[in-house]
Symmetry: C2
Subunit: 427 residues, 2 copies
């Protein structure tokens, strides 16, 4: 039977109206009930997950993908624990800001409110299902989930456990049955439902795609709903002539090798000519030992090749690729201007870092690089909601509207103006 | 010769990079130079405007539209004066917020920056051309203007004066010639350039449509660039049983009659049953004298008809129409719940007001009405950037993302994360 997305959207919207009125305490109790239910139903969730993994192996999925799909080895318990952490975060809803008394006596302020219904389209990672439910619920939003088809069984088991947890709260004083309409799953993997979802602007207020460039392009070109694009990072480090080379080496190593498959990982290293001969052989040695392949421009190629590292000449498009792998583009530049010029031409606006002890260079870099996060003497790997003190993260935005960089609870809210008068009319 | 929108976009983008570095003082001097140039070139602008008006009259445009097109009668001087007011507003760019020192010693904050390039599609109102240029320049953004074809001559004369003003600053120390690339005009009225503009996501960061529902729909369905939708207001007043009826009458009168053609004007009056008999005849008398036509449900119809006011039965779709005219829908409701239910079904999320002296009802209305501005005992006509103390307004957003309600300078900015370390790597 075909899915009725109109009905699904309508129910999510209706639930979002109720959810906006639920208190912080009620939301936190719901989150704790969800966490407990995930623990209590661990066996059935893990059984569904094992079946997804078996089918994935039979379909020839890569070991890396199968690993991301897996909930084994204590991962499910850790995910439930993360839900409890979201319960402990402060609730952004209801906060007032920009309060002002106007000359005519009107009291105006902005008040933070949930956005409404959020649609999330994501890859084969069942932990995302739980993260998204926890963050949208805590911020008072309903959610429509469309996860990767490879983990559909795991997701259905997870959402069933979540709904059980919420239904158990019925005795607790609020309408958990209606609340459970706040979490909707598109449980048919047919891609036409993604297209249909992207045009449900009557019911969905925001689309968050989590995936590769193709998914973001699909959403940007077909959605009639505002889309948060992001997650694609061609990230740069520039090592200036005054950089502390020990720190620079650590930061480049950390940025490239700690988790090569994520978006805040380094793709390109730009090195000031004056320190290239001292620095690049050390880079080749340290990162080469971690099996990094270098794609280098001629000058860098010569310096890197003195070591035993794997080095190739950079091709014409190599500085525009998000490698997602142990590959690093390397270029020697004449100084800050050439570095900034390279970044302006190749950055995707995600994360860039300057290594320098020259304050005026740090200032120029921070002012002129137009990325979601700009770093001075720190790893780009810190462009992450948890690392920047937001407590969580639903996505990293590289677009300019609404939110930029890590999106956590506050970024899942909007505001309304509240204006209190005593018979005021506009003259 | 067909327009090269790619080139136009590229130049705007390049100018936006320079504009982001211009100081507040430089931007203010540019604004004052623009205002002076508008004054100095008034004759040629008014001549172009007279030609637009002549052509408009020959084409049979309505008197109301011709009036909106006109710069006569001191309007141009007033518009130039408004540019000087924007120069006096504080500059949002560069402000830091959410500064934090993380447990590992990293210094992180968000810093307000221009958005980049903003595309504005608007109707036949030459004052909008100047407003948009002033607000985008002050907030450090480049702009691509596509105004109504009826005022193309006026717009070209205005932009020519603006560019003259900026070029005169060349001696003043910053690159005014490049800066003048920051203001681009689509000077061919062919609508296919709107379609092309809506897909220039490589160069344009935000689209602001100013116009009717059809324009907003066109943008939402065809743009690959984030769009600020808004400006469509089916606005409600609810008169509760404890309302001060004198105040309520003033607020309903002000909301409906002060400027019937704008978006924050009242469309629907909901009246508590207990005060309907006392209140509605007064509404009929006061608003009827201002030539308001009432579209009423049966109960309201009976009460309104006792007077000499023009009253018609409300049709099935009448409560979903933004009238933009001296027409008011009227309905008697049993109380706050029915009023909220009506508003949830018919509001476009623009502006709603409750008239009440019952604090718990005011609180429920403020909490449960999900609109860009919610008023208690004050006219919906205050949903305006100038009236709410923002100093200006480029549009009123009724969507949930980025900005809601009046958009002024701060709403034309985004932010970047700035993270300062001393060799920090992620553990």
């Amino acid at each position: 039977m075909p899915l009725d997305l109109q009905d699904l959207g309508r129910r999510a919207k209706a639930a979002s109206v109720l959810l906006a009125r639920v208190t912080t305490d009620q939301k936190n109790r719901a989150l704790l009930a969800i966490a407990d239910s995930l623990d209590a139903r661990a066996e059935s969730i893990l059984a569904a997950n094992r079946l997804d993994l078996e089918n994935g192996r039979a379909a020839g999925l890569s070991a890396a993908l199968l690993d991301r799909m897996s909930l084994e080895g204590g991962r499910l318990a850790a995910i439930a624990e993360d839900v409890r952490k979201v319960a402990a975060l402060s609730d952004p809803v209801g906060a007032q800001f920009d309060a002002r008394t106007l000359p005519n006596g009107l009291q105006a302020s902005r008040r933070r409110t949930p956005i409404g219904v959020i649609g999330v389209i994501y890859e084969a990672r069942p932990n995302v299902t739980v993260d998204v439910v926890a963050l949208t619920l805590k911020s008072g939003n309903a959610v429509i989930l469309r996860g990767g088809k490879e983990i559909l069984g795991s997701n259905l088991a997870i959402v069933s456990a979540i709904r059980d947890g919420l239904n158990g709260l019925k005795q607790g004083g609020f309408e958990a049955v209606l609340l459970s309409d706040a979490i909707q799953v598109i449980d048919d993997p047919d891609r036409r439902y993604i297209d249909e979802m992207l045009r449900l602007h009557q019911y969905i207020d925001m689309i968050i795609p989590r995936g590769g460039a193709a998914l973001h392009k699909l959403c940007r070109e077909n959605s009639t709903i505002p889309v948060i694009t992001g997650g694609i990072g061609v990230c740069h480090a520039y090592v200036d002539d005054t950089a502390k080379l020990d720190d620079a080496l650590n930061i480049v190593f950390n940025g490239k090798t700690q988790r090569p498959s994520v978006c805040n990982t380094l793709d390109t290293l730009l090195v000031h000519d004056a320190v290239a001969a001292a620095f690049l052989p050390r880079v080749a040695e340290r990162l080469g030992a971690a099996n990094v392949l270098f794609k280098a421009e001629p000058k860098a190629l010569a310096l890197l090749s003195q070591t035993g590292a794997r080095v190739e000449p950079a091709g014409p498009d190599d500085f525009d690729i998000e490698w997602m792998a142990l590959i690093l583009g390397v270029k020697v530049v004449s100084g800050l201007d050439e570095a900034l010029d390279h970044i302006h031409r190749h950055s995707t606006g995600h994360s860039e870092v300057i290594l320098t002890e020259t304050p005026t260079h740090a200032d120029r870099f921070v002012n002129e690089v137009d990325s979601s996060a700009v770093f001075v003497n720190a790893s780009t790997r810190f462009n992450d909601g948890g690392q920047l003190g937001l407590g969580a993260e639903i996505a990293v935005s590289t677009q300019k509207l609404h939110a930029r960089g890590p999106m956590a609870l506050e970024e899942l809210t909007t505001y309304k103006w509240v204006v209190i008068g005593s018979g005021h009319v506009r003259p």
